[in-house]
C-alpha cells in the first residue's frame, strides 16, 4: 500500500518531528534543566508521544487495509472506554454497554472491512439507535432512561461511527487515484493535526482574545486563525499528491480545519460538564485518545462524504 507520495509525506513528518525533538531539547536545557518547567516537560512528552503515534500509523499503512482498519478499531475501543467512563449508566445498562464494545464496534469495522457502504453508513444511526435501548428497557430500570440511552448513543456515534470513517476512505474509487487512497487518510490526519499543533503554537506565542472563556482557556482567536491559516497553506501546497486541484485542496483544508476546531470545542464542553481536564491518561502529555482524536472525529465523516460525493464512483 506504499506509494512514493506517502513515503514523502511520512519523511516530511519525520523531519518535522526531528526538528521538534531538537527544539524541545534546546528549550529543556535553557528553561527547564532540572525538569521543573511544566510547559516544557509537557511539550517534550507531547513530541515523544507524536513519534509513537506516527510510527504506529506508518506500520498500519504498510500492513495494508486490514492493518489500518484494525488500528482504528483499537482507537475506537480506547476512545469508547474513555467516553463511557464519563457517561450516565446504571446496572440496568450492563448488557447494552457490553454490546457496544463487543458487538457494535466489531460489526461496524467488519462492515468497513468488507466495504459494505450501505450498512456501515446506517448501522449505528439506525439499527443500533433503535435496538440498543431495547436492551436497557428490558432490564426494567426507568430512572434517567432517556439520559442513559442518549449518552450511550452519543458515545457510539463519536467513538465508533465517526472514527470508522477514517479507514473507510481506503475504499473510495477515485478515477486516476487507484492504489493511492492511503494518501487520503494521511492527508486528513496531517492537515487536521497540523492545524491543532499550530493553533497550540500560535496560541502560546500570540494568544490574547479567548474564543470561549467558559469552555477552554487555551482556545484563542489568534491561535485559531494563525493555526488554521498555516495548516491550510501547507495542506494546499500538497495538492499534487491528492485527487484535488489546488483550489479544491484549499477548500478541503478549510473544511478540515474548521471541523477539527469544532470537534475540539464540543469535546471540551463535554469534559467541562463532567468536571475532567482530560479524557484519559494513556497518551503521555496529550491525555486520552479522545483528547488527541477529537478534531479527527469531527473532520473524518465530512471529509469522507464530500470526497465520496464529488470524486468517487461508488
Amino acid at each position: 500500500m506504499s506509494s512514493p507520495h506517502l513515503l514523502w509525506l511520512l519523511s516530511g513528518v519525520g523531519g518535522i518531528l526531528v526538528l521538534a525533538s531538537i527544539l524541545g531539547e534546546i528549550l529543556r536545557q535553557r528553561l527547564s534543566p532540572d525538569g521543573t518547567n511544566p510547559v516544557i516537560e509537557n511539550l517534550n512528552a507531547r513530541i515523544a508521544a507524536w513519534w509513537v503515534m506516527v510510527i504506529l500509523l506508518a506500520i498500519a499503512f504498510l500492513a495494508g487495509k486490514t492493518g489500518v482498519v484494525l488500528l482504528f478499531a483499537l482507537c475506537s475501543f480506547a476512545a469508547l472506554r474513555e467516553f463511557l467512563t464519563l457517561t450516565t449508566h446504571n446496572r440496568g445498562d450492563h448488557w447494552s454497554l457490553v454490546a457496544c464494545f463487543f458487538l457494535v464496534l466489531p460489526l461496524q469495522y467488519y462492515f468497513v472491512l468488507i466495504d459494505w457502504y450501505g450498512m456501515y453508513a446506517v448501522f449505528v444511526p439506525v439499527y443500533v439507535f433503535l435496538l440498543l435501548p431495547v436492551l436497557s428497557a428490558l432490564r426494567g430500570s426507568t430512572k434517567d432512561f432517556l439520559v442513559r440511552v442518549s449518552e450511550t448513543q452519543w458515545a457510539l456515534m463519536i467513538c465508533v461511527y465517526c472514527i470508522s470513517h477514517v479507514p473507510a476512505l481506503l475504499y473510495l474509487q477515485i478515477p486516476g487515484f487507484e492504489g493511492r487512497n492511503v494518501i487520503l487518510i494521511a492527508y486528513l490526519i496531517f492537515v487536521v493535526q497540523l492545524s491543532d499543533v499550530m493553533q497550540y503554537v500560535w496560541g502560546k506565542l500570540l494568544g490574547r482574545t479567548k474564543i470561549a472563556p467558559t469552555l477552554s482557556p487555551s482556545k484563542t482567536w489568534e491561535g485559531f486563525i494563525g493555526g488554521s491559516l498555516t495548516a491550510i497553506a501547507v495542506g494546499t501546497s500538497l495538492w499534487w499528491m491528492t485527487p484535488f486541484t489546488m483550489a479544491q485542496a484549499a477548500g478541503m483544508c478549510l473544511i478540515l480545519t474548521l471541523m477539527g476546531f469544532f470537534g475540539g470545542l464540543v469535546m471540551s464542553a463535554i469534559k467541562r460538564d463532567r468536571g475532567v481536564k482530560d479524557w484519559g491518561h494513556l497518551i503521555a502529555g496529550h491525555g486520552g485518545f479522545i483528547d488527541r482524536l477529537d478534531s479527527v472525529i469531527f473532520a473524518a465523516p465530512i471529509f469522507f462524504h464530500v470526497t465520496r460525493y464529488y470524486w468517487s464512483l461508488t
Partner: protein
C-alpha cells in the same frame, strides 16, 4: 522440572491476567500520599469486586509486585483446582479462613508471619465484597491487630474507583471502563490509640480518597 514448569506457568498466567485487567480498565494509579518505593507496606482498600486485588497488584511496579501478597478468603480460593492455582501460585496469596468455627490457623497470625518474611500485603478490611448501598462497610479488626504487632509497617489506604461498574455482582461479562486507584498517606497506630478510634481513622482516611470527596 515440573516445579519449574509450574512456576513458569504461574508467572505467565499472572502476566496474562494483568494484561487482561489493563485491557478492560486501563487502570491509573495516583500516588497521592506516597511514592511507589520498595518499603514494607500493608495496602488496604475498599472491596467491591473480585478483581480488586488483581488491579491493585497490576498497577504496582514489578519490583514491588513480586514482594506483595494479597490476603484472600480460603473458602473462595480453594474451591476448585484452577482457583487454587491462581490464588496460591500466581498471586502467592495469604489464604485466611473467614469461618471461626472451621479455621485451624489464626488469620492475624498468618498475616504477621507473612510480614515477618518481609512481604507487603494487600488487605480488604471490610472482610467481604461490598454490594450494599453504603460506600464502605465497617472495618474488621485485623488491620488494628497488624498495626499493633508491626508498628513500623506503613498502612497505605488505596481507593479503587469504578471497578464495581466494570463487573457488577452477578454479571458474567465485564464492560471496559477506566478505573483509578488512589494511594493515600500511610497510617500508623498512635501510642495508646484504642481499637475503635484507630479503625475509624483508617476508614475515614480511605474514604477521603474516593472521587468527589475533598482530599
Amino acid at each position: 522440572m515440573s516445579l519449574r514448569v509450574r512456576s513458569l506457568a504461574a508467572s505467565l498466567t499472572g502476566q496474562a491476567i494483568s494484561v487482561f485487567a489493563r485491557f478492560m480498565t486501563a487502570p491509573r494509579a495516583i500516588w497521592q500520599g506516597i511514592e511507589p518505593v520498595p518499603r514494607q507496606r500493608v495496602y488496604f482498600a475498599n472491596h467491591s469486586s473480585n478483581g480488586d486485588f488483581v488491579l491493585l497488584w497490576t498497577v504496582l511496579p514489578p519490583n514491588l509486585r513480586r514482594q506483595t501478597r494479597p490476603v484472600a478468603a480460603l473458602d473462595y480460593w480453594l474451591k476448585s483446582p484452577l482457583r487454587a492455582f491462581i490464588g496460591r501460585e500466581v498471586f502467592n496469596a495469604v489464604l485466611i479462613d473467614r469461618r471461626p468455627e472451621a479455621r485451624v490457623a489464626d488469620p492475624v497470625a498468618q498475616m504477621v508471619e507473612a510480614l515477618d518474611q518481609h512481604a507487603s500485603l494487600i488487605l480488604f478490611p471490610e472482610g467481604q465484597r461490598n454490594s450494599s448501598d453504603a460506600v464502605l462497610l465497617p472495618f474488621k479488626s485485623g488491620l488494628y491487630h497488624l498495626a499493633k504487632s508491626q508498628p513500623e509497617v506503613d498502612l497505605v489506604p488505596v481507593w479503587i474507583a469504578n471497578l464495581n461498574k466494570v463487573m457488577p455482582k452477578g454479571e458474567i461479562i465485564p464492560v471496559p471502563l477506566i478505573c483509578t486507584l488512589t494511594f493515600g498517606a500511610p497510617l500508623h497506630l498512635s501510642a495508646d490509640e484504642a481499637k475503635d478510634a484507630f479503625l475509624a481513622r483508617a476508614s475515614s482516611a480511605l474514604l477521603a480518597l474516593a472521587p468527589g470527596n475533598p482530599a
